[in-house]
Symmetry: C2
Subunit: 393 residues, 2 copies
Amino acid sequence: MFSEIHMPKGFECAGVSAGIKPGGVKDMALIFSDTPASAAGVFTTNQVCAAPVKVCRAHLQHGVARAIVMNSGIANACTGAEGMVAAKDMAAETAKVIGCEPQEIFVCSTGKIGPQLPLDKIIPGIGKLFDAALIENVQDCAEAMMTTDTRPKVSVAELEIEGRSVKIVGFAKGAGMIEPNMATMLSYITTDAAVEQHALQAALKKAVDSSFNRISIDGDQSTNDTVLAMANGAAENRPLDENSHDWGVFYQALETVCHELAMMIVHDGEGADKFVTVNVKGAATAEDAELAARAVANSMLNKTAWAGTHPDWGRIMDSVGYSKAQVNEDLVDIFYDDTQAVAGGCQSGVAQEDLIKVVSQSDFAINIDLHMGEGEAVVYTCNCTEEYVRINY
Amino acid sequence: MFSEIHMPKGFECAGVSAGIKPGGVKDMALIFSDTPASAAGVFTTNQVCAAPVKVCRAHLQHGVARAIVMNSGIANACTGAEGMVAAKDMAAETAKVIGCEPQEIFVCSTGKIGPQLPLDKIIPGIGKLFDAALIENVQDCAEAMMTTDTRPKVSVAELEIEGRSVKIVGFAKGAGMIEPNMATMLSYITTDAAVEQHALQAALKKAVDSSFNRISIDGDQSTNDTVLAMANGAAENRPLDENSHDWGVFYQALETVCHELAMMIVHDGEGADKFVTVNVKGAATAEDAELAARAVANSMLNKTAWAGTHPDWGRIMDSVGYSKAQVNEDLVDIFYDDTQAVAGGCQSGVAQEDLIKVVSQSDFAINIDLHMGEGEAVVYTCNCTEEYVRINY
């Protein structure tokens, strides 16, 4: 699937089975740079957060990283002091194998909350990863990150900076527990561009806000969400920052990669088979627009109606009404793609079949105009099927 | 089922089929008092609200009511000026049949949002209701209120005020769309006690806050939620208010009726087969306790885990963490009934089977201690099954 995809210059990657998950499934991944790279990170805002998130936050102070090592199957969350030791050991062992400082290693875990990491499997796994990375394998790396994902997620951008070829390769896992602030979402963005650390951090934060933070699967937020970026400078451009001539080109490519990965996550929402874009405009403020869009995108009644191919715009009116956005129901217009369902808060008179046609598609938009001001927002979501419940049993 | 239950003195009730729903299903109900009654009401906080809610709010200014007339099948919400005319016509016709002022009539509708009320069925339905009420029928009245409810809901309290027998009879419908602020919930409380209007209003508000507003099914809030109370004084006690000797007895009975009806609604949650009480104590404030309890009760990941008989306390930690309550994860204790799953934010070491035993029950409690202060709250919720998704398709 990704056999044609190669990492940016100076990066290696691998995915192996370390025996954390049963059945020889790949469950550890490594991404590393041959040289120290500028590093950036954005993390879960959950007050309950996993040991590896705490370790990443601390190591990010260093500003420079060599590698990201991760495991799936166990989240190393709610594991107390023992979990912190395990996360640090995981970083230390990776540093030893690569030959760098532990502070230059990011560690991530995803999976079940509660159990301690099996270090007797993790430590040998790190050695296996390093050996496997001699033959860079993007597919294996992306597969090892998966939990309930049905497919690996990789996005690539190629661009020119100062006439030099630059590449961005991003990985992600998602599937369930996805809501504002990137619940159970991991993403790693690698680039051979040279980028100043502070500029990389600001750019990553901005790109995450307009991509991963605009998707919603079930309204839950996880303990382990992490987006990391590494820029190793192997393209040998002059280090980029916000004042560089080609900054816009770089930022746009970074945002596109994040956006593509975020869309892949929604498309692969647990049990979901419909991708729904919720656009709100005409809100009193941008914040109001976001509140209304999130209320619509997160409503179980909307998500199940879409699963059942019912337009049921009344449920959309209902969720707009209970959102904290300022709403005057007599002004609300709602369109399914371009077909108007609601005009001034009442049914438009359009034939129900025309709306059913829209929600029968695997990809459609709900476009809402509140007619209260200039605020706009978009949120990407999916339907909720019986399969979602089965997956989460 | 409720054939043994009789209304308080001076009240009549009925339920009939007016042909709004197909198949001769009962779809209109009437409750009326032979004499003017003190009236109180609590309504949805949704900014999008149904025409009958607007009419009820206006009529409540009058403080006195003779009757409640309702239909199921169509919500008369998002119906604009035409919907307002229909709701007022429904009140006017009922007033004409009973012989009182339209302002003394409460009107309610529940069902699909969007379509206009079929007045050609509603108006004859009111006549049928009045005729049917000559033979008071609590069962028919409760059945006519149902939408996706699987069973009618009635609660009765009998008490003594100043040595006189007083009765409270309450009706409710619920099932889906239930969250804070009583989503798609209708409840009517009748009593033959004499109660001052202002005291009845305050008591109803307080009782609703500690009953209907403490339940959660799917986190959605409706356009039509209404709780109404009528006290007609047929028991001939001196009118009660907060200073009356027997006020406490009356209030307690009122709250008990509201609580029983609220519990019936959760037990009959769409597709639900488990009743879960979420207790939070030790929160920094009572508000924090409520935020944490609601986050746990509303989490789809918790609700589906319970459906699958998985303890999965990690998901509870996760939802406590992303609630807006102040949390220190290292202090959190979680019990399933009396069995401790989490101690100081980590697994307690209890056998998984012991937790499975608890979540296998049809009724259990999640008891959370945040160890941050004295704040306490309880929220009642249910599991989420594949059946929930099927019902809402």
